[in-house]
């Protein structure tokens, strides 16, 4: 092919240079990868939050340890049984107190220590050796190794029973135990050595010491006993077969002179039998101030034992819901609540509450707060109960050999193991144990011990407890509550509703104040402000949008809060007076001749800003005193507090905006048309005077409406206090609303002004050309055309208000209260995350709930912003079409 001649004479290059192609390819690859990667990274935020929060709803896992775990713990005798089980801190080694059946009932036989993971027996001690010869009952304190043992002759001994771990260095360990797998136990001679999951070694010693003097005082065989640790020593309660209860406290003090440990015993005896009440179980509250007796027929009694020598009956209650006898009682972690199993297989949780209906002299009433129905319709009786020593988890075994794990705060059944012939136990369990770290569940049935590896998950959190009312301990009824920090056995209250409520409250009140101001300001700025001024004013307000929220929070919390508290009435009056003065100023302006008005048109805005606004503030200040006397009995703070005054003032305050709208509607419907018809021949001046008079009449009408409605509601004995208004707290929703408006107004203003300004000019020109006034053009043409833009501006403001952290953190008082009171504090989702997340232990339920709160916040803003964005895109298309 002959080459065509070119202008320069050089041959034209027809191929792209290879390096251009290469760089193109590389750029495409890098930008595509980097771009997609970045976008994915940003979107990862939501995924990650979800990944952290989701394990909250993971079910508990209960997996049987390998097959040979079922250790034979037969203690000899015809029917071997187990009286009690315990485990070491790490859940590697368990002790079992087995029993031997005798003619008079089971008696303690021997104490065995076995390795939980493989069921190997490590040590056996006879009951005699441990001082438990012929013991009928043994009760251990949940923390520590204190225990009380009751004997067939009615005596009992307080002693120690359990396992004591002590750290052991790795050096010098014999080969037999040095090779232990982590998480297992072995034996070195007579010493038990365990290796923790982390690899460290510890020796475990058996503590079984009931050597002290037995306490006498009861004569029949001991039926049941309970022990709780007080600051100065153990408190025990022992019940014998005749219904006699002995309560004893032992306090040990070191004698300063002889340096001897002196134990003083004081106690009292309580006769419960006699009136047909056959006590079967005895339990103490952990604080040691209450004693509970449960009879076999399901009735129960509560005694106050602040003074142990004279227990006083406070209350009798039904512990079985009329369904028959009580088959087991367990004191829950925290010591306030008791779980009671009835003969029909149902479990109820009782705790004392301060109910108003309480008839007991101490004002408390036992409430059956939770009911767990039987596992199956066949309703096998409960044979054993065990409360977890670190959470409100309860293990329940029934006669069919089934097991259940219950959470007593949320009322959820965490997991179940069905019983029956093929069941894990092969028979009903006589003793149960949740290991101290909740990593193992042990059950003894007949002469066998079965163990499960337990991973409870986060049973304290469930959908129902997060979003529904929960009956927490000591509360008179189910409530929404958020309370996450307290002492060790504190019942955490993970209810997100108060936080969501606080978030909505902050958003609502802030928007109520900020939206009208921002939208009206945007209308004026886009339609009536000279362009030269707009060029100055708009960037100023825009810049405010980037003012750090911590600054606004500081100013709101430390500067505004005291000022608002002092000038509260002036502020409230200002909400009324400033708009009124502005309107009055406009009517006065109308009185000017038309020529003057157009000549001074440029001065209208300075007049509004520099004269009308300050006058409005001055009027508010002057009106504050009289209004306070008129509406609030002379002292608004006292009125809000509920001291003095009637509900009238609050109704007036709440209804005035409505009354204003109503009056404007009435005047527009009935008076204005008449004036329009009859005002044909008037001079402009006369028209202006008449309109001023109409305005005055309208104000009077509005005031009259408000007063009449307020008097009506007041006569009905309705009060706004307790609802919209209430006791004044220095950091409250009003302060937050004002502080937040500094953040939201610029945001809404900027977007709304952009939307209004981007309405095509030909619409405006056409409207003005058709004879509409600027106001008519603005309100009938521009605003409808920009409506979706205005909507998206409000939504974006809403999104900001929902997620704002620092302002609410610093100005809202951070108390998770519910209630619409304008003058009260609250806590929002964001503030809770900011204050609590740094302290929450990583991976704990609290940590994950806070991530769930973050996810909730994310979802709330995402929905709001998506709505705004979709509307805005539509608005853009529409504006394009116009």
């Amino acid at each position: 092919m002959a080459s065509t001649p070119t202008f320069t004479g050089r041959a034209r290059r027809r191929a792209t240079r290879p390096w251009v192609k290469a760089s193109d390819g590389i750029a495409r690859a890098v930008i595509t990868l980097g771009g997609i990667g970045t976008i994915i990274a940003v979107l990862l935020v939501a995924v990650f939050l979800l990944a952290v929060a989701l394990p909250l709803f993971r079910p508990a896992r209960l997996t049987a340890e390998h097959a040979d775990v079922q250790a034979d713990v037969a203690g000899g005798g015809a029917v071997p049984g187990v009286a009690a089980i315990g485990a070491d801190e790490a859940g590697t080694v368990a002790w079992i107190l087995s029993t031997r059946a005798t003619d008079a009932g089971p008696r303690a036989a021997e104490l065995r220590v076995v390795s939980i993971t493989d069921g190997k027996p490590l040590l056996v001690r006879s009951a005699t050796e441990a001082g438990l010869e012929a013991a009928t009952v043994i009760a251990c304190s949940p923390s520590g190794q204190h225990a009380v043992a009751g004997f067939a002759d009615g005596s009992f001994r307080v002693g120690r029973l359990g396992l004591e771990s002590s750290f052991r260095a790795e050096e010098g360990l014999p080969a037999a135990v040095a090779g232990l797998e982590p998480g297992t136990a072995g034996k070195d001679g007579e010493t038990i050595v365990v290796r923790a999951a982390g690899g460290q070694f510890a020796t475990v010693a058996v503590v079984a010491d009931f050597g002290g003097e037995p306490s006498v005082g009861l004569s029949a065989p001991v039926l049941d006993a309970d022990i709780t640790m007080q600051s100065d020593g153990p408190l025990v309660a022992v019940l014998d077969a005749t219904g006699m209860v002995r309560v004893e406290t032992r306090s040990s003090r070191r004698n300063l002179l002889t340096d001897e440990l002196v134990t003083s015993v004081s106690g009292g005896t309580l006769e419960s039998g006699g009136d047909g009440f056959e006590a079967r179980f005895v339990r103490l509250s952990e604080l040691g101030d209450q004693l509970f007796l449960f009879a076999g027929d399901g009735t129960a009694r509560r005694y106050e034992i602040r003074d142990v020598e004279t227990p006083a009956l406070r209350e009798s209650f039904d512990a079985a819901g009329g369904a028959g006898g009580v088959s087991g009682v367990a004191r829950m972690f925290g010591g306030n609540a008791l779980a009671v199993a009835d003969a029909a297989g149902a479990v109820r949780v009782f705790f004392p509450t301060r109910a108003e209906t309480a008839t007991a002299v101490d004002g408390l009433a036992m409430a059956a707060a939770k009911l767990f129905p039987p596992a199956r319709v066949a309703a096998p009786a409960v044979t054993a109960l065990a409360a977890s020593p670190r959470s409100r988890l309860l293990a329940v075994a029934d006669a069919s050999g089934g097991l259940r794990l219950l959470q007593t705060t949320t009322g959820a059944t965490v997991t179940t193991l069905p019983g029956g012939v093929g069941g894990p136990l092969g028979g009903p369990a006589s003793a149960l144990l949740v290991a101290p770290r909740e990593n193992r569940l042990l059950a003894a049935s007949g002469g066998r011990l079965a163990a499960w590896a337990l991973d409870p998950g986060y049973p304290e959190v469930s959908w129902r407890s997060l979003f529904g009312p929960v009956w927490y301990e000591k509360y008179p009824g189910p409530v929404h509550a958020w309370e996450t920090t307290g002492h060790e056995s504190f019942e955490s209250k993970f209810g997100l509703v108060p936080l969501i409520f606080g978030t909505l409250k902050a958003t609502l009140y802030s928007m109520l104040f900020a939206t009208p101001v921002a939208i009206l300001a945007a209308i004026y700025a886009s339609q009536f402000l000279p362009p030269r001024w707009k060029a100055r004013i708009k960037p100023t307000i825009e810049m405010m949008a980037s003012l750090p929220s911590v600054v606004l929070g500081f100013v709101a919390g430390l500067v505004f809060a005291p000022v608002i508290e002092r000038w509260l009435m002036t502020l409230l009056a200002g909400f009324l007076c400033v708009p009124l003065v502005l309107l009055a100023g406009a009517y006065a302006w109308q009185l000017l001749p038309a020529g003057w008005r157009s000549r001074f048109a440029a001065w209208r805005f300075p007049l509004i800003g520099l004269v009308a606004l300050p006058v409005g503030l001055a009027v508010s200040r002057a009106a504050a005193g009289p209004l306070e006397r008129l509406l609030f009995n002379g002292d608004v703070a006292a009125w809000l507090d509920g001291r003095g005054g009637s509900g009238f003032g609050g109704w007036v305050l709440a209804l005035v905006p409505l009354a204003g709208v109503g009056a404007a509607a009435l005047m527009g419907r009935f008076v204005s048309p008449w004036l329009r018809r009859n005002g044909r021949g008037w001079s402009p001046r006369r028209a202006a005077v008449v309109s001023l008079a109409t305005f005055a009449v309208g104000i009077a009408l509005a005031a009259g409406l408000a007063v009449a409605a307020a008097a009506f509601f007041d006569a009905l004995r309705l009060d706004t206090r307790g609802g919209l208004f209430g006791t004044y707290v220095q950091r409250n929703a009003l302060v937050v609303a004002i502080g937040m408006s500094f953040a939201i107004i610029p945001l809404i203003f900027t977007i709304a002004e952009d939307a209004l300004s981007s309405v095509p000019d030909h619409l405006r020109s056409a409207s003005l050309g058709a004879g509409a006034t600027p106001w008519q053009t603005a309100i009938r043409v521009i605003v409808p055309a920009a409506a979706s833009g205005l909507f998206s501006a409000v939504m974006i403001g809403l999104g900001r208000a929902v997620g704002e952290t620092m302002i609410v953190l610093m100005a809202a008082g951070n108390t998770p209260l519910m209630g619409w009171n304008l003058f009260n504090g609250f806590q929002t989702l964001s503030a809770a995350i900011a204050t609590e997340l740094p302290e929450a232990a990583r991976g704990s339920g609290h940590y994950r709930v806070l991530f769930l709160a973050a996810l909730t916040l994310f979802a709330m803003t995402f929905v709001v912003n998506t709505a705004a964005e979709v509307v805005r895109q539509r608005f853009r298309r529409r504006a394009h079409e116009l």
Binding site: V20, F48, L49, V551, F554, R604, L613
Partner: protein, 564 residues
């Protein structure tokens, strides 16, 4: 319309035209705008005035009460008499709030005095305000200056002169001693710790692979060597600081409070003293400038309520810059992809909407993400891999807790959507005709982007970036979760190897506002300081914003010139 006869033209009544103009409603909208402007300018002016006036020396007023009590202080606030409005309880005479200082004697920093109880108030010439290292301000009168028992000067004038002569030297020696204690001793401590951790690391290595067991002995030997050297060097440092302290010992300024109580102030614990009632305007200006200098360049004192905020400025700047360095390339890459490479379709639109949305997601959500993902996730992983020794021996996470790097990354993620949106807008503002012209000349896609599109879009991109920096500089909620501390005097970038310590926790101006304003034990005395910090932060952010606005207007001008 089927009306055949022409309708008579309706006379418009003046009343109708009046309502058509809607003047009252216009005034209402105008009032809203005026209110918005008043709120905003009022707030800015309030912060500026309160912030800038903190350091100006205020005259000290001696108040003599009718009951012979006397107090000396700055008048912080005056309240005019209030007439009884509603009940008699409200009626009150005028009163004034005095910053009386002398906290260790009076137990408070401020006190209200009713005008009615004040018999006489004056401004004594020799009234002196002393700023101390600890215990807040002291107000009183100089009596004498002495070194031990040896009186150097007596009487207010001589004492004041002697004070001015001696104070700077004493302070210099004091600062030198503090510097030695903090920096040189700190270096020795770090060396010791590094050697100790090296041993632990060697032990850990030996555990995992027995072949490396020999290194334990070497590390132990090295540790002993380091310990020996440190002991030696710290003895030398002891000598030096002891010499400095000996020279300072005994230098005391004896003062007298308004009540006549004698107070001895060690000279080295006095930061500065001034006599506001004697100062001329330029003298006051000198004190003012000096206090600003301390504020900007020194470390904080007294739980951050006095002294300087240098570490916080440093932390804010370092974090913002690292954030900008991280966010700029990724933001531009993502925007380039979305605008130039991605095919137009519903997916791209959805992604765009999602990114727009993420710009509105609350910052605290990003904070939670940063804590969980960066600190605990990534940081924990890094610790497991590289800093096990510290984790095992000291139970101290290195990267597994909040730090500068994680804070910057979190804020980068937070501002990324802002930058992407701004960059996209800047890219779409480049006319397509320019791209087409470039292609017509035979340029490839990348060449077009690099030579034509990016240069034109650069001012817009920069504007977005600067706005993102302004947002990042003022954002504090997420930082509370990912690494900001009340007090962190070890700067994240300093002279010790490896010079940049991205794992260190840092201070931040915005957090300082929250901390000093709300967590300070004495919030009233700390309030002026908070205003100054606020002023500084707002000024920084306003400057960044103004710069962005200037860039934007330049961008607009350039387009006007290049339209063809």
């Amino acid at each position: 319309m089927s009306s055949d006869k022409p309708r008579p033209r309706r006379m418009r009544s003046p009343y109708t035209s009046l309502t058509a103009h809607g003047e009252p409603w216009v005034w209402l909208t105008g009032g809203a705008l005026a209110l918005a402007i008043a709120m905003i300018t009022g707030l800015l002016a309030f912060i500026a005035i309160r912030g800038a006036s903190t350091f100006w020396p205020v005259p000290l007023e001696l108040v003599e009460l009718a009951d012979t009590r006397r107090a000396l202080g700055e008048v912080a606030e005056r309240e005019p008499p209030q007439a009884a409005v509603a009940g008699a309880a409200d009626a009150r005479g005028g009163r004034r709030l005095l910053r009386t200082a002398n906290f260790e004697i009076t137990g408070n920093h401020y006190e209200w005095f009713d005008d009615a109880a004040v018999a006489r108030s004056s401004r004594p010439e020799w009234a002196t305000a002393v700023e101390r290292l600890e215990g807040g301000r002291f107000h009183g009168f100089p009596v004498r200056l002495r070194q031990g028992e040896n009186v150097v000067a007596e009487g207010p004038e001589a004492t004041w002169q002697a004070y001015r002569r001696e104070h700077s030297a004493v302070r210099r020696r004091y600062r030198e001693a503090v510097r030695i204690d903090r920096h040189e001793r700190g270096r020795l401590q770090r060396d010791l710790r590094a050697a100790r951790l090296a041993v632990v690391q060697a032990e850990l290595d030996a555990e995992s692979s027995p072949a490396r067991a020999g290194r334990v002995a070497a590390a132990t030997a090295a540790q002993q060597k380091v310990a020996e050297r440190v002991r030696h060097e710290s003895l030398a440092l002891d000598d030096r600081t002891a010499a400095l302290r000996r020279q300072n010992e005994g230098w005391t300024l004896d003062m007298e409070t308004a009540d006549g109580r004698a107070v001895a102030l060690p000279l080295e614990a006095i930061v500065r003293a001034w006599q506001p009632n004697r100062l001329s305007f330029f003298g006051k200006l000198g004190v003012y400038v000096d206090r600003w200098r301390e504020f900007l360049a020194d470390d904080p004192r007294e739980a951050n309520s006095a002294g300087g905020v240098f570490p916080a400025i440093w932390g804010t700047v370092a974090m913002t810059l690292i954030m900008a360095l991280l966010v700029a390339p990724f933001g531009v890459l993502a925007a380039l992809y979305l605008r130039e490479y991605a095919s137009r379709g519903p997916v791209t639109t959805a992604v765009r909407i999602a990114i727009n949305n993420l710009a509105g997601v609350p910052s605290i959500v990003y904070g939670a993400f940063g804590l969980g993902f960066f600190c605990y996730g990534l940081g924990g992983g890094i610790d497991e891999l590289f800093f096990r020794a510290s984790l095992v021996a000291d139970k101290q996470p290195t990267f597994g807790t909040g730090g500068l790097l994680w804070a910057s990354l979190t804020l980068a993620l937070l501002t990324l959507p802002v930058v992407i949106v701004a960059t996209e807008e800047a890219l779409s503002a480049v006319p397509n005709s320019m791209r087409e012209g470039s292609y017509a000349c035979g340029a490839g896609k990348w060449q077009t982007i690099r030579r034509i599109v990016l240069p034109r879009a650069l001012p817009g991109i920069m504007t977005g970036l600067i706005l993102a920096m302004a947002r990042g500089a003022g954002e504090v909620a997420p930082l509370m979760l990912v690494g900001v501390k009340k007090l962190a005097l070890d700067l994240p970038i300093d002279g010790t190897f490896p010079f940049i310590h991205p794992e260190r926790e840092f201070m931040h101006l915005a957090y300082l506002i929250y901390d000093v304003g709300f967590q300070s034990p004495n919030s009233q005395a700390a309030k002026p300081m908070v205003f100054t910090i606020t002023f500084l932060l707002v000024a920084i952010i306003a400057l960044l914003n103004l710069f962005a606005i200037w860039l934007r207007s330049r961008l607009k001008r350039r387009y006007v010139a290049q339209q063809f």
